[in-house]
Structure formats: C-alpha cells, structure tokens
C-alpha cells in the first residue's frame, strides 16, 4: 500500500476514534495521532470505547473500501492489546487485513 493509501486508512481510524471520543464526551489532552494509545495504561479509551471503535471501524471500512472484514481476529498478536494498542498499530493492522503491504 502506498503512503497515500495508508494515509487514507489512518484518516479512517482517526475519524472513527474522534467519533467515539465525541460520543463519550471525552477530550484528550492532545489531538489524536499515530502515537495515541487506545488500550492499556494511558489510553484515551476505556474498554467499552475500544470495543465500540473496533465495531465502528469495521462498518466504516465496509463503507470506504467495500471490504467486509473482522478487525478482532482471533489469531491477532498474543499480547493483551495486540494491534489495538495505538492508532498507528491499528492502522497497520487494518492495512494488513485489507490485503496490502504498508508503506
């Protein structure tokens, strides 16, 4: 995937994150970016917010890319948060699932 296309996926993730934060009436100290933590200590989302983001992103991915996919793969990395640790790792995970290589 080219940097531009990865940028498209990143924009999708950020847009989903901002929607969930708005719904939860949460304002993070800094505007969300690649390094923003989504799970674990220091995360901007609680457990319900993270699950909500994942389900929302699946829906947005279908609308944006026409791909029906499951972000919460059972074979995803063994560590607790896996690909959901940060905006950047989630973007990479989504790129992988879309069947393309990240830049």
């Amino acid at each position: 995937m080219s940097a531009v296309e990865r940028g498209r996926v990143l924009a999708l993730v950020l847009s989903g994150l901002n929607a969930v934060l708005a719904e939860a009436k949460k304002t993070p100290p800094e505007p969300p970016g690649e390094a923003t933590l989504l799970a674990g200590r220091g995360a901007v989302l609680d457990s319900l917010g993270l699950v909500s983001l994942v389900v929302d992103l699946e829906k947005r991915t279908e609308e944006e890319f026409g791909a029906v996919l499951t972000l919460a793969q059972e074979d995803s990395e063994p560590q607790a948060e896996g690909p959901f640790r940060s905006v950047g790792s989630l973007t990479d995970h989504l790129c992988r699932l879309l069947g393309q290589e990240t830049a």
Binding site: L48, V51, E74
Partner: protein, 338 residues
Amino acid sequence: MPTGIVIRGIAYHLPAEGVTNEQLAAEHPGWDMSIVEARAGVVRRHVARPDETALDLAEAACKKLFAQHHEARGHVDAVLFCTQTPDYVMPPNGCVLHGRLGLPEGVFTLDFNHGCSGFPYGLALAQGLALAGFARSILLVTADTYSKCIHPEDRSARVLFGDGAAATWLAAVEGGGGLLDVACATAGKDHGKFIIPAGGCRTPRSDETARPITDDSQNVRTLEHIHMDGMGILKFVSVRVVKQIRAVMERNGVGADDVALFVFHQASNLALDSLTRLLRLPPKKVYRNLARVGNTVSASIPIALEDARREGRVGLGDKVLLSGFGVGLSWATALVRL
C-alpha cells in the same frame, strides 16, 4: 419412537425491581450512561433482591408455564436446569425445584453449568433424552442472577446484565420435530476470557480474593466477581460464532429469507450489530429486547423468543435461528421450527 422435540410453550419471570440507566447515573455520577445506552443497548435491567435467587425466579417461571399449559404439570418427566448461580454447591437446583413444584419421583433431573449458550445446549440435551426414550415431556429451565456476581463499581458488567428465568416446555414428537438442527461447540483454552476466578475449589475465597482491583477503565472488581475480556469476547463472536451460524444455515440449505427471525443471545448491541453485519442479515430480522431486560445470560434466548411471539414477530410453523455464546467459551446454534 420419538423422532424429535417441539417447543410447546415458554414462560419467564423477572425480578420486580428494575434498575434504569438514570438510577445508575445518579448512583455513579462519573458513569456516562449515554454511550452505555447506545453501545450496550440496555436501558433497564431487572435485579433480584438479596434474598431472591435464580431458583426462586425459576420456580415462578415454571408456575407461570403450568398456569398457561395445565397439561404440562402432570406430564413432566425430565427437568434440565441450566444455571451458574445455584442456591447450593449441593444439592443441584433441579432437585430443589423438583421438590418445590411437587413433581413425581420418577422424574429425571439434571443441572448443567453453562452461561449464554445454555438454551441451545439444553435443546440438544432434551432432544437426546427424547430420542433415547428417557423422556417425552421436558422442562428446560434457564435461570441466572449475575447481579450477585458483579462488583457494584464495575460499570462494564453492571450496565449489561439483568437477572431472569425462563421455563420452556419441550415435548417429544413422532414423525418430524421442531428442532431441525443444533450445533454445540467449546473453546476450553479460552475459559479465562469470561470467569469468576475465585470462590470455587481451585481458589477458595480469602482476604486476598476479596481485595478490590481497579482496571485501566476504572472498573472495580475482586477475584470473586465476574471478569470479562470484552475484546476477547468480541473476537470470539465475530469469528467462531459467525462461522457456526453460517455452517448451520449452509448444511440445512437455509438462507436469511427462509428464516422468520434470528433470535441471538442478547449479549449487547455491539455484539448483535457485529453478527448482523458479518452475516449480512436484514436488521429487521434480528430480534432485540435487551433494552428492557438486559443480558439475562441463559434465559436471554427463550425470553427473547417469547417476547417475539407475543409481539407477533413469529408464530406456529415459522423457522427461527437461535444462537447463544459466552462462558466456557461455549457456543451453540439451533434451527427450530416453531
């Protein structure tokens, strides 16, 4: 000889006390209930009194069932009781219920410890008893009071679960049957994703297990309370449950158009949304009642099925697909003709 079973009737009973999101918000000003309502989908859940147990709720449900189907009482020859919140470690709830209902001594009773997959698992057990000639008239009781296992400061679980009991009367029939197919599955390696870690023989209760722990999301619980890995459960639902439902539909040559209603375990709006989207189902064909009762664990599917019947969403002869999933991890899908 019987060739199958049919559902003759369902009755359910909920505790009188309903707890609304407004009440929870008043009790916990820090809890934002708007996102909970949208995502979990629960507006009100019923909570048992401290002296009210799953057995009490089950007895009330059975009495309602007998009142609606007088012929059932005198013919029950098996009681299957699914619960994870029994009155005692021993004896089993099914035996105590048998006594309370005044059933005859020749009745087969069996408790089984399953959560949200309990109803379709119970249908499979009942079909087995009927086909083996052990029983012709089976009372399948599914009842739980998870509220007793949830820390009051655990928002993630407290907003979701409600207490309740359902009693389903199943009868053996010859020349057909209403349970067209059922698939049951287990992923025991993942049992830790949904667990009460302490209080059993493995880790008895102690001062240590009673110590409150606050997680990254500010939910508080002890080792004696329900621990649920939300993301782990979502993965399980999105992958394994979807795969099983597809398999049951495919092997029966059934498409969404052939099914009058999909009655899934009322886990949460998030779970139901995922199932609907991944299975490409028309949303109007996926029943939801969790707004008013919450996630009632093993009672959830029969309560939903009975509500759907009362609302005229399903009727005699309709084909419905039921799927339950949860603790174990365990999941089961049944194709049923009403």
